[in-house]
Symmetry: C2
Subunit: 314 residues, 2 copies
């Protein structure tokens, strides 16, 4: 199993990436082989300092970096020697089985959509976020920004893909799927929600529990909530802002700590042929370690094949 890691991606790279890898190697009994992609001049001293086991990784020199604020498509086209471009090349050519980066999110998305094929049958790949529920559990919200305009069929597939992810990766046997809406009963909502509800009701690959409203987002009424990427992105960013606001106001509570998204370790792009994991820009060592573990799990469970089977049978 070969996992590629962008060593230059994120505000705290490469140092926190190296510490995360160190922690991963220290805790894994049979660790995956890692391809560390980035500027070797900057990485090498850290690899020595943290004494990473040389047999367990391959260093791939990529002299360029796509910055956080660069235009994704343009940067990917022009910076062929960037860590992200090199990573996608390795992934597309089968040298690595998964690719992880906490770098430019747009470039990671563009790379996922254009270097990789979608899983057969998938209309629109999607990205999700973890939602911390007030009772201690976590839920999944998708789409959170990859698809700002959606059709009912897209939301229906997000529900199927979210279900496979929750089963395979989060270990929820029969995840409850809800439609994010502005009313409880069937027939409520905007045109998209009204047209999506019957599809979800008929979808035999999911356990549909009906509509949830904005006030239910942090309650444990569903394990998976589906919505268009515009709504989902606004919810995600509002949720992230609670963490900053409570920190800034010095409001201490365990619940708000769970809004610290950098701890969750990144979100996979669901529906593309191979595992791609996008980390938060301020990912720390724990996030990097968690992303490697997530990539490992996605490869081991063969989640891409399961997605294909479930989506094809829709």
């Amino acid at each position: 199993m070969n996992i590629g890691l962008d060593m230059m991606g994120g505000d705290l790279a490469p140092l926190e990436a190296v510490i995360g890898i160190h922690d991963y190697f220290s805790s894994a009994s049979t660790p995956a082989h890692l391809f560390l992609i980035g500027n070797t001049e900057k990485i090498n001293p850290l690899l020595s300092e943290y004494n990473l086991p040389a047999d367990n990784f391959t260093l791939i020199h990529a002299p360029q970096v796509i910055d956080m604020h660069e235009h994704p498509t343009k940067a990917l086209k022009e910076k062929r020697e960037s860590s992200i471009a090199v990573g996608f090349h390795l992934l597309a050519t089968g040298k690595i089985d998964a690719f992880i980066s906490a770098g430019n999110t747009g470039a990671m998305l563009v790379g996922s959509l254009y270097s990789l094929k979608p899983v057969e049958g998938v209309l629109r790949p999607t990205i999700s976020t973890i939602i911390p529920k007030e009772n201690g559990k976590t839920g999944l919200l998708l789409d959170v920004g990859l698809n700002s305009d959606c059709k009912p069929e897209h939301l229906n597939q997000f529900a199927t893909m979210g279900t496979v992810y929750a089963q395979q990766i989060l270990g929820i046997e029969q995840p409850r799927v809800a439609l994010l809406n502005i009313g409880e009963e069937e027939g409520k909502g905007n045109l998209l929600a009204q047209a999506t509800y019957p599809l979800l009701k008929e979808n035999k690959h999911i356990h549909f529990v009906g509509n949830v409203e904005g006030r239910d987002v942090f309650l444990d009424k569903a394990d998976i909530m589906v919505c268009d990427g515009f709504t989902g992105n606004i919810i995600l960013k509002m949720a992230e802002s609670f963490h900053s606001i409570t920190q800034q106001k010095n409001i201490q509570h365990e619940y708000f700590d769970r809004f610290n998204f950098e701890n969750y370790g990144g979100t996979p792009v669901l529906g593309v042929a191979k595992p791609v994991i996008i980390g938060h820009g301020i990912s720390k060592a724990l996030a990097f370690k968690n992303m490697i573990l997530l990539a490992e799990k996605m490869i081991q469970t063969g989640i891409m094949d399961k997605l294909k089977t479930e989506v094809a049978a829709d």
Copy 2:
């Protein structure tokens, strides 16, 4: 100036309504004349108990009540003697100049749209909510649920109406208007946001400051944020849920107290010919008092005429 008040609307009516009226009469130097609409058997003992000045109000008997969970259109049609139906009749026939209720929100919206005409030129009346900013200020978000599917022209008018409201009622001289979006630059967002941006930029009746994202909702980047009613309703209900969640977890902070929407005193329906104010279901005395003061201000400032002028000139 005659203001109608539904005495049966809300979980804590009529008691809290009576206390709110009492407080209003006690504090106003030249109070408006109030039309108190509801079941006189239930109201009369409270009016005596709180010793309301008889010259300052007219009691209107309305034996029926529309419950919180009744179907709005059906209930309004069948319960012609309900306090809400009677209130809208008084408003439409000019007996009162404004109508306030903390009762069935749907019935209040249906009544506003069908008993009253829209202000000339208004494509879609709208409802807004106050957003507590983390720096102590407040902002306005609209639409929050009256229009779940919107066109760019609608959002553009919400911006104009929100601006008039912020100027006339909230006392903000040059309110900053932002488009709620999922990216900062022009051209970002879903199709609606992409098409709305140029309209807002050209709108000479507003001070447009560009896009804001989900993470900016509680920051003081704009005084007015416009979005479709689906997105706005989800944000409103999420914000309301913070208050319940923090209360339930016993997290005390002044900032979270400001998420207690029952204190704000209700939201006006903007764009209909006369002032209609819809209160929160659990409105207390302060909310009722604030709603009377808001109705008074809306009548005094002639906000409906100003809305008409601004919208017509768009």
